[in-house]
């Protein structure tokens, strides 16, 4: 199968060329590669958004990424090669199979991180209802809780005070905490929708209600979440706090 060399194809590949120039010849194991969880619903609507997020992470921070998003079955052994897993969807999805539930439980328990994202911006129905139902099966003793703006995820790289996505219907992120670590962060504002590009390289969706500034905030929030997955509560260390508090004043 041959790919026609068009202006669009070149533009799409440009970021990858930039990244490959920066990456050194070393194993990929320690690099950031977003995994994308496959489930029975519409799980693959934000693949390019995740690639874009990886690209932004590479461009703006010192993190080395593999600029692609890898779709992963929850029962796949390869799931444990990727500690960052995007679990998104548009609309309801059927219940996970028991082996999938158990694999996801192991994944989260042993250190994996899940960014859950309601692509439909739902609350109490659609993806939101399905996700909450499945999460209760995966981690029955650990409820989803609102994430206060004082949480370290709002300062892991950018200083932020809200978590908008393509939408801004729900002011707060939610999290499932395992010990002192947020193992799951959940946005109902379609975060990845703000990062998604179409085939032409343009952003795929309008961002509302804040427009392009809101998109930038969504990108920054995405980077902060990746930084949280990689550095945990590093920015809560005592050496950072005085300076960060001063900046926030």
């Amino acid at each position: 199968m041959a790919f026609p060399l068009s202006r669009r194809t070149v533009l799409r590949g440009l970021p990858l060329l930039v990244l490959s120039g920066r990456a050194m010849a070393f194993g990929d194991g320690a690099r950031f590669v977003p995994g994308v969880a496959q489930h029975g619903g519409r799980w693959d609507g934000r693949m390019s958004g995740l690639r874009r997020l990886a690209w932004e992470l590479q461009r703006r921070t010192s993190v080395e990424v593999v600029p692609e998003a890898r779709a992963l079955q929850l029962t796949s052994p390869r799931l444990f090669d990727h500690p960052f897993l995007y679990f998104g969807g548009d609309g309801e999805f059927p219940p996970l199979a028991q082996p999938e539930v158990e694999a996801l439980r192991r994944y989260l328990t042993f250190g994996g991180f899940v960014l859950a994202d309601a692509n439909d911006g739902s609350g109490g129905r659609g993806f939101d209802a399905s996700f909450r139902r499945e999460l209760a099966r995966v981690l029955p003793g650990a409820p989803l809780e609102p994430v206060p703006t004082a949480h370290v995820v709002f300062k892991t790289f950018f200083l932020l005070d809200s978590a908008p996505g393509r939408l801004f219907l729900h002011p707060q992120l939610h999290a499932v905490n395992l010990g002192s670590r947020a193992a799951v962060l959940y946005s109902q504002n379609d975060l990845a929708g703000a990062w998604e590009r179409d085939e032409s390289g343009a952003y795929a969706f309008e961002v509302s209600p804040g427009g392009e500034p809101q998109r930038e905030l969504a990108v920054r929030m995405g980077i902060n979440i990746c930084m949280y997955a990689l550095c945990l509560d590093y920015k809560d260390d005592a050496v950072h706090l005085p300076l960060i508090l001063k900046k926030r004043r």
Binding site: F26, G29, E64, G111, F158
Partner: protein
Amino acid sequence: MNGPTTTTWRLVSLSPLPVWALGLLTALVVLGVVLAVLGLRREPSGLRRRVLLALRVLAGAMALFFLLEPGLRQLAQVRVKNRVAVLVDRSASMGFPVRPEGQTRAAAAAEALDRFAPGLEALHDRYQVEVLGFSPELAPASAETLRTTGTGNRTDLLAALRALKATDTGGSRKLAGAILLSDGADNADLQAGLQPRQAEELAGLGFPVSTVRVGEPALVDLAVEGVKVDDFAFVRNGVSVELELHARGLKGRDVPVVLQREGVTVGTRTVHLDSEDQRTPISFTFTPDQTGRFVYTVGAPVYPGEAVVENNTRSFVLKVIRDRVRVLLVVGRPSWDERFLRGLLKQDPNVDLVSFYILRTSADDTQTRNPERELSLIPFPMDEIFDTKLHTFDVVVFQNFGYAEPALSISSYERNLESYVAGGGALLVIGGDHAFGEGRAAYPILDRALPVDPSGLPAQVEPFRVRLTPDGLRHPVMRVQTTEPATQSSWDELPPVSGLNLVRVKQGATVLLAHPTLKLDGQPAPVLALWDHGRGRAMALMTDDSWTWAFTARRSGEQNRQYDRFWGNALRWLVRDPDLTSLQITADPPTVEPGHAVGAVVTARKPDYQPASAAEVRVDLYSLADRRVLQTRTAAAGPDGVARVSFDPVPPGAYKLRATARLEGRDLGEADDAVAVRSVGPELADASVRTELLADVARATGGRAYELPLGSLPAVPLLDPPLVEVGRSKDAPLWDRWGWLVALAVLLGAEWFLRRRFGYI
């Protein structure tokens, strides 16, 4: 031995009749008198009545006299000779001079006893005088012995008096009193003065103790006393040392007091002396920056004419331990390798983690207008962490760190870091695309501390399974299971890693993990290597994929804690956790009294950490002053791997013990410990004379307190010896004389005659 016998007389009844019979007969006599009184009631002549009554009473009395059979008893008595004990202090402090340049206190006491001799002789007719030395055990002392200075290392007045009391078994052993000659420099129960409970005990001795103070209070002496410090301290935490400077006869001087750690000054205090006898509390607070056992010495200068110069310094051993392992984690860029290592270190309560990540380099475009306000980044405080605060960390970890750009390059701190490791610090370098020369930065000076050299070859990117080397199998860092086969199996089952920095192993380094097939210079490419660098340790892990041992390895749900155990072991090895050293030595005790042997216990283990039975252990004792080995001992370790050695007494000072051991030709490493030999024991630490204490002792027992010089034995209070009867008594009857019988007959006859004449019969 008793006094001369004396004789006394006593009036006694010699009647063989029992008391009740005598009582009955006496009652009959009295009845006879009463009847006479009744019978004479109607007698009109008072004269007749009185005469008849007198005759009846006299006759009754005479009858009683015969009934009681009175006699004189002759008694022989003797006065028992009780004991008077003269107790002479034989402790070492009696070797101090009475006054500057004067005779010793012991000689002064001996002279005083010579002068007391006539007085003591005079007591001999009533008392038995014993001269005893105490130090604090009691022992008979001859005049000749008393002229020499005693060697007792303790003055315990109460113990001496208790021991004396124990000899008071009554009779001729009863004590009538004691005379105590001492400087009163008690360093036992009465060190803090006579307390009410002790005064009560002294009062219960039952005999007066008179004290004679030997020595004059006015002397010149400077003493470091009462050093109070804990046996151990935490590294990088403040430690307080409290002591008392006791200065006598040095009024007006400014005295510097210095605290040193094995020759290095830790602190100085200056004390101004306002009086001739001044006790000044002094406190030093310092922060030890290294773990281990160290000899600390507090010292004051020696002034002319001091009674004791040895008490101007006091040494003690302080064991400095770590409360938590303080780890500095410097990360070149966030990665999963960093993420899992951080998670492990943060959850370990024994680790105090300080971390710095490079989240952004100059090549990164954050897309911010005002980075200062929009980013949470802080400047990388290189000066602070690699210079001023570097020594506060137990372990420095560089994880995929090696930037060439000036803002992030550590090239100007390489020398600091290398010195930090050589001086006892620990360095761990974890690989990646910025490490081991893989990035653009090269740190040739820091590389000296590492067990590997960059090869200059490009990194190996093909996934591979690490192979545990034979050295690795035995090494405690790699022991993730309880047995070697299980440990081997655990490492074999790990998921593959991708990415390997190709390095060359230095001479003397130990490779614990290697590439299974890839060779470099004919040797398997090392994955994990370590060594000792100077007094410190360094470890190099040439991959950034060890996180997979924590996460990927658990994909099947096994409760595999191999990653945690490996890094836990690595940290413990880096900070020289005693449990992970093959050879340990402990001074026993860490502080030795002057003149005592120096002991040490050595524990040797094989590389597999089993007891090194029969290991040849060698221990050198060397002085910290000149680093010269003074004595060497060798011993064979027992079945438990333990060997004990003892060194001949050495002069006061600070010493180190260094142990080495070999087993079957293999070196088991070396270990050292500190030991302090005191310049003076507690007995010689204080040359003062305790006048008040001696007076209190005398007062509590009912004795009197005296002070030398005394021309003769003073009139000390003594209990009177008791008298006891000795031999048989002799009775002389008084009643069996014929005259008494005639008198009774005349009285009875006269009454009969007069009664008949007066018409009563």
